[in-house]
């Protein structure tokens, strides 16, 4: 905490982070039809994920925590996709954040703000946050209503669905530190990666466990730097 206090004193620069939700090379539009890399069609109704513990790396490889907040990025809410952090760094080499929620928040009762269970990202019958949610429909889904609902979460050892994301920001911009970064969040990454996810086989994930961990390993690759300036 003390370190954050010191940093805030010298924090003079603003860094704007813009999360851009995409499906491959296309922007994600709610209701539009897309295809996974395995040629399975789907539409998206909800796409939400928690971003917390944002840290920036300086030229000396030191990480600086620049926010203690937990943000909920929501595809339906453009304001939630823009995050501004303050820092005092001359140059930013990399950015790191947790896609998810600190495990302590899962066992400390009811939280407020973006972590308010009323935001729909909390399992009430088996306490714990949903780290990320991708919900829609697919004609190949075998679930009722042809729904495709991936609610991924879990905080216990072996079931932790939060993932650390590190994105290098090199080469550095000349003379001044970065002011804005666009970070792409690619829905397609949920289906490919370490684990092949076929909607026809697994259209529903509503609890922590094996499937949630597979999806989490996949979505840990969904972010990339789209633009920086």
């Amino acid at each position: 905490m003390a370190c954050i206090g010191v940093m805030q004193l010298c924090a003079q620069q603003k860094l704007n982070l813009q999360f851009v939700n995409m499906v491959g090379e296309s922007k994600l539009n709610i209701g539009d039809s897309y295809k996974t890399s395995f040629d399975e069609p789907f539409t998206v109704r909800r796409f939400k994920y928690y971003i917390s513990n944002i840290q920036l790396q300086d030229d000396h490889q030191q990480w600086h925590k620049v926010s203690s907040e937990c943000f909920l990025v929501d595809a339906e809410d453009p304001a939630s996709q823009a995050i501004t952090v303050n820092h005092g760094l001359k140059n930013i080499k990399s950015i790191k954040f947790l896609l998810g929620v600190d495990s302590i928040k899962n066992v400390s009762g009811v939280q407020t703000g973006t972590l308010d269970p009323a935001r729909g990202m909390f399992w009430t019958w088996n306490s714990g946050y949903i780290v990320a949610k991708l919900e829609g429909k697919s004609s190949v889904s075998k679930a009722l209503g042809r729904y495709m609902t991936y609610d991924v979460g879990g905080y216990k050892p072996g079931e932790n669905a939060s993932r650390w994301i590190v994105l290098p920001l090199t080469p550095a911009t000349k003379n001044k530190p970065l002011q804005a970064i666009s970070i792409k969040a690619d829905v397609l990454a949920w289906f490919k990666g370490e684990n092949k996810i076929l909607i026809a086989e697994n259209a529903v994930c509503h609890e922590p466990g094996i499937l949630a961990m597979k999806l989490a390993d996949n979505y840990s690759h969904m972010f990339s730097i789209l633009q920086k300036q």
Binding site: G109, V110, D116, F122, T124, W125, S127, P208, G209
Partner: protein, 354 residues
């Protein structure tokens, strides 16, 4: 000398400043004492995160008895948690929810919750403050959304006043609502049964009660541990799966087959007023429970070793243990006006939910 003067001056200034701040910020709440009965362990609830106040308690009490926490207005918490049944449901095997729905489980009694680490028969809920969110949002219980509940509370002048009195401002959110409910629930301590009075040396057991207590200590107390009458572990007591309800218990939470059909050991305090019994209310009387233990335990891979071979019990012994179980009824708790509906509460008539 000069330094001393400055120090004194500074101290005075700081004192003035702090007294001003305190006057301005400290909400005028009356704190409530939580008394741990003598010989009981320390509670597990972290009171430092939710200090008990009269205002918070009264708010929690109003919420507990308010049907508006449910989608159709007819299902307050108190519809399944009735004071005369030690806050279990009288005579219902499975709890009833909105739109003539049934849940898959028997509502447990509510008391001594400050000593419980996990909630529900499967222990899926890890904090008392989180517990009310499950029944409020379950479609076969109160069927409401948290946002709708909060909107109803925010629209009500009395609630805005009560939230301000309890928490310092009129802002109403899930956290404050659940903290208030917890304050009400935490105060529900049941520690004044005949058993407790005997422990305190105020009265004595009669002969059947005393013989029953001796048998209880031998045959039941390893799981139904005194003084809370539960060790709050999860155990498979050899009750087979109802394949229609398909409730696998603790395994649903841990996803470990070793936890199949394990359920939390219930407290036996007030047991004679909380029938029916077991997670799904399948036994209507304590006699049926005794009969299960002495002759119907199903041997599964993970049936608890303490009951695996049955518990030998004669009819005579059952009678004595039953006499002892009656001493666990805390009638002052069942009639304590502090835990009844607030005076101005309009509680849906019981006939609506039965």
């Amino acid at each position: 000398m000069r330094i001393a003067c400055i120090t004194i001056l500074l101290t005075v200034l700081v004192c003035i400043a702090t007294s001003f701040v305190e006057k301005k910020q400290a909400p005028a709440t009356t704190s409530l004492a939580f008394v741990v009965p003598e010989g009981w362990p320390q509670p597990v609830y972290d009171f430092s995160q939710n200090p008990l106040t009269k205002e918070g308690f009264e708010l929690g009490r109003k919420l507990f008895y308010d049907g508006r926490l449910s989608v159709d207005g007819n299902f307050p918490c108190s519809s399944c948690h009735q004071q005369f049944a030690a806050f279990a449901t009288y005579d219902h095997n499975l709890s009833h929810g909105v739109n003539n729905s049934l849940t898959t489980r028997n509502a447990p009694g509510l008391f001594n919750l400050a000593w419980q680490k996990e909630f529900m028969h499967d222990g899926g809920i890890n904090h008392l403050d989180l517990q009310p969110l499950a029944p409020i949002t379950a479609t076969n219980e109160m069927g409401e959304t948290l946002n709708n509940v909060l909107a109803k509370l925010r629209a009500d002048t009395t609630y805005r006043k009560m939230f301000k009195a309890a928490f310092g401002d009129e802002d109403i959110n899930t956290q404050k609502m659940s903290k208030a409910l917890s304050q009400f629930l935490l105060m529900m301590v049941s520690s004044n049964s005949k058993y407790d009075k005997v422990r305190r040396g105020e009265v004595s057991f009669n002969l059947p009660e005393r013989l029953g207590y001796d048998l209880f200590k031998k045959k039941c107390a390893s799981c139904h541990t005194e003084p809370l009458f539960s060790d709050y572990t999860y155990r498979n007591i050899g009750v087979d799966l109802d394949s229609f309800i398909n409730d696998v218990g603790r395994m649903r939470i841990t996803r470990l087959s070793a936890d199949s059909l394990k359920f939390k050991v219930p407290s036996l305090r007030n047991v004679m007023v909380t029938a029916p019994y077991l997670h799904d209310g399948r036994f209507y009387s304590t006699y049926e429970v005794f009969n299960h233990y002495r002759s119907s335990v199903v041997k599964m891979k993970n049936t608890d070793s303490l009951v695996r071979n049955g518990i030998p019990l004669s009819n005579f012994e059952i009678g004595q243990i039953t006499a002892f179980l009656y001493t666990l009824t805390d009638s002052s708790f069942l009639h304590d006006p502090r835990f009844g509906p607030p005076q101005d509460a309009v509680v849906p008539p019981v006939m609506h939910v039965h």
